[in-house]
Every structure is written in C-alpha cells, then in structure tokens.
Amino acid sequence: MSGGVVEHFTYIVTVFLMVAGLYIVMARGNLIKKLVGLSVFQTSVYLLYVAPGKLIGGTAPILAPQYTVYSNPLPHVLILTAIVVGVATLALGLALTVRIKETYGTIEEDEITAADNAVQDAEDAHS
C-alpha cells in the first residue's frame, strides 16, 4: 500500500488539489475566494496532464544515439494553452468582480442574492 502511495504520489496531489479547489468554489461565498478555488481546480488539471508525460531522467525527444529515454512534450504544449485559458478566465472573473463591487457595493454572494431578491420583490409589487 505504501508503495502505491509513492508510485501514485502525483495523482494523489492532483486529486487533492482538484477536490480542494472545487470545494472552495462551492463552499465560499466571497467572489474572490471562489476564483481562487477555481484557479486551484484548474491548476490541478495542469498537473494531471504534465506529470504522466514526464519520465525521470528523460530528455526532450532528440534523435541522437546518447539519448534513449524521452519525455513526452505534447502534454506540456497542451498545458501551455490551458494555462493561457486559465489566466484569461481568472482575469475576466476578477474584472467582473470589480464591476460587481462597483454596482452592488459588495462581493459576498448572499448579499448580492439578497439585493437581487429585493429588486425582484419590488418589481413584483409593481406588477
């Protein structure tokens, strides 16, 4: 069993980050903290891709007689794209949070929901 833990170390870290990130997104009401959780969640996926592609002692796939062990470069390239996507998502999320703070005066989810409900009730009373 202990051998399994060592062997699957990266997977354990990946899954921990994944679950922790997702938990923060769901459990926290603060919009910034939610984005932090979302980032952690996305980062865990980078590890999921990159870790299995790396062989310890492996080099880039260079066709030369002195190299025999290669790491797979493709996951790294894919994750480079995913990182860009993650950064863009985070930036957009933060920009939205700034706008929400400006218009609602708060970044707590329950207060925003309460404000929305108050407006909704006022509209219903109007009709």
Partner: protein
C-alpha cells in the same frame, strides 16, 4: 489547391480574424461592417461545406498539411455541416439586427468591443463544431465561453454582472471537467485525434479511466448545454444579457454543446459502451423528462417574457436529449432536427422580444424589462412583432406546419418504435404546457386593453426583417423538410453506423 478545398479553415479563420480587426479599429460602425462580413463569409463557407459533404461525403482537412493523427484535423461530416449551417446562419441574421438593438442596450463607446466578442464567440462555436481534435474542442469551447461571459456582462441591468459571474464559474467548471476527461482519454490512448481515439478505445474499452473520462466529459458538457438540473446559470444569463446576445446564445451555444455530447458519445466512446453497458440512456431519459416538465411549469409562472422563454429553452433542450436517450436512428434524427428547429425558433422569439425592449426603451427612461404588465395590448401597438412571436410560439408548441412539429413528429415516431406509448402521452402533455405559457403572452398582448395614449410604433426595419427571416424559416422548415429532416436523417444514420 483551390479556394473550395480550404473552406474548412476559412470557416473558422474568417470570423476569428474579424474580432482583432474590430478591436484595432475602435469604431462601432467599422467593427460592425468587419464582423458582419466575417459572419456572412462564414455562412457562405458553411453552405459550401454543406454542399460538398452532400456530394462527396465526409471532408477531412489537415491544418498545415500535417496528416492526422499527428496534425490537427478539421473534420466535416453530415452532422457537423448541419450545425455549422445553424451557427453561422444565426450569426449572419443576428449581426445586422444588433446594429439598432445595441444602440439602446449597450453604451456607444463599447460597441466595437461587442462586435469583437461576437466575432470571437462565433469563431469559437464554429471551431468546436468543425475540429476533429479533442484538445482543440476545449480551446474553442473556452474561446466561445469567455466571449459569451463578456457579452452577457454587457447587459444594462446590474444583475447581468452577477449572472455572467455565475455562468463563468459554472462554465469553467464544466470546461475543466471536459478537459479532465480528455486528459484521461489521452493517457489511455496516446492520441487526441477523435477518429484515431475511437479506434484505439476499442481495445481498452470500459477500463476504469475510460469510464472516468466518459463521466467527466458527460457531466462537463451537460453543464454547458444546461441539462436539467445543471441549468441554473441559464435563466438569469438569458434574461439580463442584451437581446441580440440572448438570441444568438439561445440558438447556438447550448446547441453546439449538444453537438459535442453527440460527437463524443457516438463517434468516440461508441454506442456499445454508452447504450448497452451503462445505464446512461435511462439517466438521460429521466433528466430529459424532468427538464421538460419542471422547466415548463416554471416558465408558466414567469412575469418577465425573456425569463419565460429562457425556461422554455431548458424544456426544449430536454426534448433534444430525450431523442438522444432513445438510442435509435429516429431518436437521434429527432434530436438533431430539434437542435436546428428549436435554434431558429428561439432565436426568432428573442429577436422579436428585443424589438419590444427597443420600443419600450423609447417611451421610458432606462431599459425596462419586458414584463407582462408593460405588454398589455401590445398587439395593437406592435402587430408584426406580436404576430411573429405567436407563429414562433406555435412552433414551440409543435403545431403542424411549423418547424417544431417536424422534430416532435420524429420524436414521437422514435417513442412508438420503442413501444412506450406513455412517452407519446408525456410529449403531448408537455406541448399543452407550452400552449399555457405561449397563451399567457397572447392573452396579455391581444386581449388586454392598451394603456391610454399609446401609439402604434414598430421596431425599426433593420430589427424586424432579421427576426421575420427566422420566423419565415420556422414556417418554411415546417413545410419543406427535405433540407432539415433529410440532413438530420443522414447524419443520424452516419453516426449510428460508425458507432456500431
């Protein structure tokens, strides 16, 4: 090679190029011209591809001439060509409409950014549809999603911001789930090309990582397509987004997600795994029925017309997934057909509602929501708009002679094939619920007296004509089914044959 051979690349590249150009020009008018030209070019390319696929079968285009599975492949089969037609066609109609529509809904200095986002979103959606590479799907999914969040946040109401944020969180979780699934598939097969992946999966089928991949991809995409009960982001996003954005998203974004689900279920995992070894059809069946009834009931009690039809979208997505859950050629045909027919019907409705918002905004300061109390006697003031909604509403209900009837007909055929006649009853009962919510509009607009001193004033022609093009399309495709039903049947047969 001639230009026609490069249509698959042009299909995505043209709208993709229009977006940065629109940003660089920093001018609403020029941006409008560029992005509209891009969308029309994309529509022309989609028509060209549809004809090509009809003549010579599936097109495989190698980006940069790198042969798959090493290079990225663009693959256009019957289904992809049909969805490309829907997406680019809707964009080509909605863009001319948005010129007048956003005048009252988006501050003028942001207009060029709206067009840029529209171009990006269109490129993303077309890219998802056309690509034959699993990771490429994720990248295009995020391109379209990120631009969608921005477009929703452009809505005047501050609730648009909260709706956009909520959609961003849900959408990113969905997309990340999808990419986790793709990661597992890559680990198991060592390839990202969908065709290659499908072949290699045969030998490792139903090992645990493959099942995990299936679960992650299915749940992730279900979030994006607003499958009940993962639809929570949709009503607010549709209600508070600018009208043109709502119309475009309702017709395309969720539909393209359905396409991705069909693609992965049928073309990659294969029917044997999905429908014979796992209880997926049963789960999908129950969720679809729940979507149809719960969302319809919720729709009946909405006071905001946009929100009413947003819930109706959740319900209609239920019809599409119901068709998928039957696991038959007729069921899949119904799903593909309804994807198209509901797309144009809902786009027509939201465009017409946008016209109402435009006119209401003229009378009052600010941007009033299209709530029922403001719509009393509207049929006298805006006869063309209201009549258009009634016709599109008949298509939602599924009255013969409209597009909605054709897809429901195939759905009922598929249900009867299964020998489960109570499903036919459920579909008919659900249509009655659609009658109820469409009737609410008819009652208020046609039978309530208009407020004193209100004058007849239609939306401008640049908004009415695009909306009516779609309304006429719902009638056209209800009477002449050779294009829609023909393509959908061929697509379904192609998918089912590949999967077996």
């Amino acid at each position: 090679m001639s230009l026609a051979a490069h249509l698959p690349a042009l299909q995505v590249v043209l709208p993709l190029l229009s977006a940065p150009l629109a940003v660089l020009l920093r001018h609403g008018g020029f941006a409008f011209v560029i992005v509209t030209a891009g969308a029309w070019a994309a529509f022309a390319a989609a028509i060209g591809l549809w004809l090509q696929v009809g003549e010579s079968g599936t097109i495989s285009y190698h980006i940069g001439s790198w042969a798959p599975p090493w290079g990225i492949e663009y693959r256009v089969d019957r289904l992809a060509s049909f969805v490309l037609l829907l997406v680019s066609g809707t964009a080509a109609v909605v863009l001319p409409y948005s010129r007048a529509s956003i005048e009252r809904e988006i501050p003028r200095n942001l207009h060029y950014l709206y067009y840029a986002m529209f171009g990006l979103c269109l490129a993303g959606l077309l890219g998802i549809t056309i690509t034959g590479d699993a990771f490429n799907v994720f990248v295009f999914l995020e391109i379209s999603s990120l631009s969608t969040y921005v477009m929703i946040a452009l809505g005047r109401d501050r609730r648009a911001l909260a709706a956009s944020y909520r959609y961003l969180i849900m959408g990113t979780i969905g997309a990340t789930f999808f990419v986790i699934g793709v990661g597992f598939l890559y680990l198991m097969t060592g390839t990202l090309n969908l065709v290659d992946m499908a072949e290699r999966l045969r030998s490792v089928e139903s090992s645990r990582p493959v099942l995990a991949a299936l679960a992650f991809i299915t749940v992730g995409i279900s979030l994006k397509l607003a499958l009940f009960p993962l639809h929570q982001w949709l009503p607010n996003a549709y209600t508070y987004a600018p009208s043109a954005v709502t119309a475009f998203l309702a017709a395309t974004a969720t539909k393209v997600s359905v396409y991705v689900l069909i693609r992965f279920w049928y073309s990659v995992f294969g029917e044997t795994l999905i429908f014979e070894r796992l209880p997926l059809p049963e789960i999908l069946f129950v969720l679809s029925l729940a979507a149809m009834f719960i969302a319809s009931f919720t729709a009946i009690f909405q006071d905001n017309l946009k929100r009413l039809f947003a819930y109706s979208s959740v319900c209609q997505t239920g019809y599409i997934t119901l068709g998928m859950s039957f696991d038959s050629v007729n069921g899949l045909t119904a799903a593909i057909l309804h994807l198209f027919n509901h797309g144009i019907t809902k786009a027509a409705i939201f465009l017409l509602i946008g016209g109402m918002v435009f006119v209401l905004a003229k009378n009052n300061a600010g941007l009033p929501a299209p709530t029922f109390d403001r719509l009393a006697g509207l049929a006298k003031r805006m006869p063309l708009t209201c009549f258009g909604i009634v016709i599109a509403g008949l298509s939602l209900i599924g009255v013969p002679g409209t597009a909605g009837f054709v897809s429901k007909w195939y759905l009922i055929l598929a249900a009867m094939e299964k020998g489960q006649f109570w499903i036919v009853g459920a579909i008919l009962l659900n249509s009655l619920l659609a009658v109820a919510y469409v009737w609410r509009f008819v009652e208020v607009a046609y039978f309530k007296p208009a407020p004193e001193g209100s004058e007849k004033r239609e939306a401008p022609l640049s908004m009415l004509i695009p909306a009516w093009i779609l309304v006429i399309a719902t009638l056209w495709f209800g009477l002449d089914t050779s294009i829609t039903a023909g393509t959908a049947t061929e697509a379904a047969q192609q998918l089912v044959k590949v999967g077996r």
